[in-house]
Symmetry: D3
Subunit: 67 residues, 6 copies
């Protein structure tokens, strides 16, 4: 029954990586809290780097400096 | 003034269905709690089936098995 | 499988009203989109009126004016 | 370390406007609460007007009436 | 820089279990996507069982039936 | 009509500081995007330091080291 939302920047995450995230988080909730995996929901949001800010700056700007 | 967020998989939801969801949820909050519909906000997020996990699996994978 | 989050101010919502919201939203998603109610998750967040702003003001302040 | 999520309708917001929002919110949290800007995260979600409801209506419908 | 939100019912989760969730999710994002753990943010929301619905029912009601 | 959610750790934020955050964010959205302040919603979530993780650690643990 847990609900997990993972927000990451949209920078070429593959379908297989998403599968690993979903499987990994669901397993973690089962291992740590005994949650039934059948009702664990995971939603991954990929956010455009123009729309993600850290340290007051767009990630797009940071990436252009090689950060 | 309530804020409602509905997350569903992106699988061909029509504009009319979205209208019904918005109207229905807004009406429900008015009926049950007496909330003024004029300031009720509803946001619908349609999530790619690759990015939605249930039971440790991507919905994409489940759909490919006909589930 | 849908996930619905309802945010309202914390102003004496009863357990029965919460039951009606949960039942109503789950039914709406079944009626409009054919979603299986068994996997529809609804989370209600009750927010302190000090922590909710509308029109640049705390709801607490608006309530003190009778709004 | 704060996390701020800004949801707005997808109606031609420019990259420069996003930069201003990110810079402004991060500065506000520093000014009001003394939060270290280096770890303040801001995520902007642009939502299709079909998917945003207010007063029980889609924003798309309101816009078509010139509202 | 990822942001992860874990929502679970408020049913006696210990501080140590929260530590394991935080450590586990942060490690998963490092392993799968190479994300720098220093800027990964995890927020755990514990939700009252009266405020969590599944299958159109409050979790409180389900728990009272031993589910 | 924008919706802004600010998540911060629960560490003695005063009602006046919350007022400043609400006023400041609402004004920012008006200044940058021309959004009508009357329908801008701001929700502040104060999160227990046990429930907030950064760099794989609870904030509670970091605070105990004076960080």
């Amino acid at each position: 029954m847990p609900y997990v939302n993972i927000k990451i920047t949209k920078e070429g995450v593959t379908s297989n990586q998403k599968k690993e995230l979903i499987k990994g988080v669901t397993g973690l909730l089962q291992d740590v809290l005994g949650k039934n995996p059948n009702t664990t929901v995971v939603v991954i949001d990929e956010v455009d780097t123009d729309n993600w800010g850290i340290a007051g700056e767009q990630v797009t700007v940071r990436r252009s400096r090689g950060e």
